[in-house]
């Protein structure tokens, strides 16, 4: 459903990503973004992937779990306090489960494909287990530095710095 053409894409002044070939992100697939710190994974997510998902927002649901989840957690707690005051969200995991419940309720009202983007979250296995249990069609895109806690992904997308200003992005194993 989502396609990004090959070419050089500017993320920030002085930093761009060189996509060696077209990338496609399809529901029913998982994508592991791999690369060292500063190789451009988060920039790819925030500057390229999320704006693209926003263009298709009428046709899909999207959840983005930020690498630095702390502030996002406050926003989720505020949402819960206003809409479900009987719930007491305490931990980051409570916030994520609340978010996923909210998503599943939305899907019951209107089914759409789900795009989940998880950037370096300690709770990636929790999210994965929830998705598996609920069984709705989804595209999971994640980055994770430690040993991959999930089953082998359908696709692995590598980020390799060519210089301080450009990283190469390509799907491995093709």
């Amino acid at each position: 459903m989502l396609h990004i053409s090959s070419g050089e894409l500017t993320c920030w002044p002085g930093f761009s990503l060189k996509l060696e070939s077209e990338l496609s992100f399809l529901p029913g697939n998982s994508y592991h973004l791999v690369g060292n710190n500063g190789s451009g994974k988060s920039s790819f997510i925030t500057q390229i992937l999320l704006p693209l998902l926003q263009k298709h927002e009428a046709n899909l649901y999207r959840i983005y779990v930020q690498q630095l989840f702390h502030i996002q957690g406050f926003a989720i707690k505020a949402h819960a306090a206003i809409n479900k005051p009987e719930l007491k969200l305490r931990s980051e995991q409570d916030c994520l489960i609340y978010l996923l419940h909210n998503l599943s309720e939305a899907i019951v009202r209107q089914a759409r494909p789900v795009y989940l983007i998880v950037d370096e979250s300690l709770y990636l296995p929790v999210i994965y287990d929830y998705l598996k249990q609920f069984g709705f069609p989804h595209c999971l895109i994640y980055s994770h530095h430690g040993a991959n806690p999930l089953p082998t992904p359908d696709h692995t997308i590598a980020f390799k710095p060519l210089s301080a200003n450009v990283s190469s992005v390509y799907e491995t194993g093709l």
Binding site: N37, Q67, L68, E120
Partner: protein, 111 residues
């Protein structure tokens, strides 16, 4: 162990300010010599040049954690308590940051 006089640096919230590096430097009270050491170390670890005008939002999550670690290491604080610092770092950066911490004369706790 009483940790009340340690400077707590939590990688879940690595930076307090949200604009340019100069703002964050004010919090850590770095002099010019310490700032030079910080930028050299950051460049070695991240292959990225820092200036006081660098927008910290343009740093990756891992780079923000590295910056927090170096700000504290180069600050006048003698006792540091790092939390969750290795989760956001790739294996090479974990090794290098671990060496920096191990070789620091400060009293440091890593949880």
């Amino acid at each position: 162990m009483d940790k009340s006089d340690f400077l707590v640096c939590d990688a879940s919230v690595p930076l307090v300010t949200c604009d340019i590096l100069r703002d964050e430097l004010l919090l850590y009270n770095l002099d010019s010599q310490a700032f030079d050491a910080l930028t050299n170390q950051f460049n070695l670890l991240s292959q990225k040049e820092l200036t006081k005008s660098t927008k910290i939002t343009e740093l990756s999550g891992g780079q923000q954690v590295i910056l927090m670690i170096l700000l504290a290491l180069n600050s006048p604080a003698p006792k540091l308590h790092y939390l969750n610092i290795f989760r956001a770092l790739d294996p090479q950066r974990r090794l290098e940051v671990g060496n920096l911490i191990a070789n620091s004369p400060k009293q440091i706790i890593v949880d």
